[in-house]
Symmetry: C2
Amino acid sequence: MSQNNITLKELAKILDVSISTISKALNDSHEISEATKTKIKELAKLHNYQPNKLAINLKSGKTKTIAVLIPSIQNYFFAKVLLGIESVVAKSPYNIIIGITNESYEDEKENLQKLSNGIVDGFILSVAEETQIKQEFNHFKNTNKPIVMFDRVVKNMTCDKVMVNDFDSVYEATVDLIKNNRKNIAIATTINNLSVIKHRIEGYKKALSAHLNQVEFDLIVEEPLHLISDKLTNILKAKKIDAIISLDEFASLAVLKTVKQNNFSIPSEIALIGYMDEKVATYLTPEFSTIDQNGVQIGEIAAKTLIDRLENKALEPQEIIIKSTINKKATTN
Amino acid sequence: MSQNNITLKELAKILDVSISTISKALNDSHEISEATKTKIKELAKLHNYQPNKLAINLKSGKTKTIAVLIPSIQNYFFAKVLLGIESVVAKSPYNIIIGITNESYEDEKENLQKLSNGIVDGFILSVAEETQIKQEFNHFKNTNKPIVMFDRVVKNMTCDKVMVNDFDSVYEATVDLIKNNRKNIAIATTINNLSVIKHRIEGYKKALSAHLNQVEFDLIVEEPLHLISDKLTNILKAKKIDAIISLDEFASLAVLKTVKQNNFSIPSEIALIGYMDEKVATYLTPEFSTIDQNGVQIGEIAAKTLIDRLENKALEPQEIIIKSTINKKATTN
DNA sequence: TTGAAAGCGATACCAA
DNA sequence: TTGGTATCGCTTTCAA
């Protein structure tokens, strides 16, 4: 079970022909007679010949492999993006190699370096949290392979980007709440260092200032997951709140739980909407209104973009925006 | 940005020395004088020399890359296993390449073939559902690389296996319910073709027959996700049920929702326990009692086992069992 | 129609 | 201490 595959050289020896003849025959070259072709192909099949990809890659300078670097795997959003990438790549000659950066700058840098030395042809990645905090992006520039960034992108880098309309989505969700007579709308997030989260908060602020002339924003709850319930409980007791927008998956779960625990009725007293996996949202009680980033689509587009670039380097850098979808369910009206 | 890395040959030309001198110097060979070593190393650093991994791999016959094949990514369990694998592999010289088989036999077979030709040194995988239905396992035997199977393993194959004590865990959970005076215990699952699910159901049956002398089992609900709620509602109306054990993540969510919708109080009227991600379970209301498969640990052990095998082929095939943990929360007493 | 040989980028043995 | 050369497995050009 553990011995290696048969090689062209060995096949050549068996048939007493040259290596090049074997190679050409197996690649269906017109230079080789039908007779020898069939003979060689039969022998190859018999021995279950599989060309050594490493040798081909070394020769061609390409590996037909794409690296996907994601900050975390414990997250339905990235899982869905991965699914989208995988569905496109599976239909192509490419393979996927995955690195998880654990939101760490060092891990991200190391992954980039490790994989740039011939292992992959290009990268699809979403920037790690720590990298965004440090604002240190040279490791992206130091690789000589094309990069497609998605969701969390670096503004001032020229590369392909697949982005989400974070500002607009939350703006729209907020306005919708306002139109339903919500006047005291809070924000909850367990993350605060990411540009995407900042854009979402900006969308919220803009909606409040444009439609309610609100200029101070004291209902923004930014706490790590293990603290957010307590913090929110305090605020619910101290202030009047009639709607909450949650900006990440676990914030959404925590908000729902906390509001129920404090015996507010949903949505009559407090409406809820937030970022969460659609499938999970459907199985909560009450069913949760979501802002869906359409992760699968993001992954598909990112994969297509990178493959296009790898096959044809002449393209202009793309910046594609995937619109999020608002799915209203039982937690809003 | 898109030009290739500098090579030994080019460095050699610049310094007008031989390629072998460059190679040895960069590998700190004692054969080379300190003077030339430093000179060469400086030049290498200046040009940001990175050895071409493909060439090294071709030469050595090893790639230091591990393939992980998982049936689905939309699943917290596999995400956690992946996390465990990644944490071990990240500390090693190995890389991970991921394939998603989408529960399909063809996808699984294709992944195995595609990656066996020099791309990876070995596999960590969990068998696809369709493969288990077909009982077709030759593609596993046809690869000449070591395989570590986890969770869903093939009984009659000699390879390393990291398994879960499915039978025992559900047996134990069932007995615990019985001891708390539950006499009408139902099972809910959205999957029915997997050996692991079958083992779980066997554990349930054994507990009922051993402790309640029950020999007929008419409270087993096996339905795809979109039907399970309706089916369960009918059964809840027709029969007396005082506990439900759910065997997969989405079954657990669906059961919780359905039981609440039918206005049973939890756990006083109906107790619930099931397979689900711990973190999600904590944020449900009421907090959900879980059987935790300890996916991270499974991944860690699987990765260690494969790396051990790759470094030292002499080991006996291992069969390791990771015990699941029962975490009682608000849905049981 | 077939074969010889160079080359992809590195390592390592053997000479010098 | 340094260099030449074979080699990993394959593709491809040029000769035969």
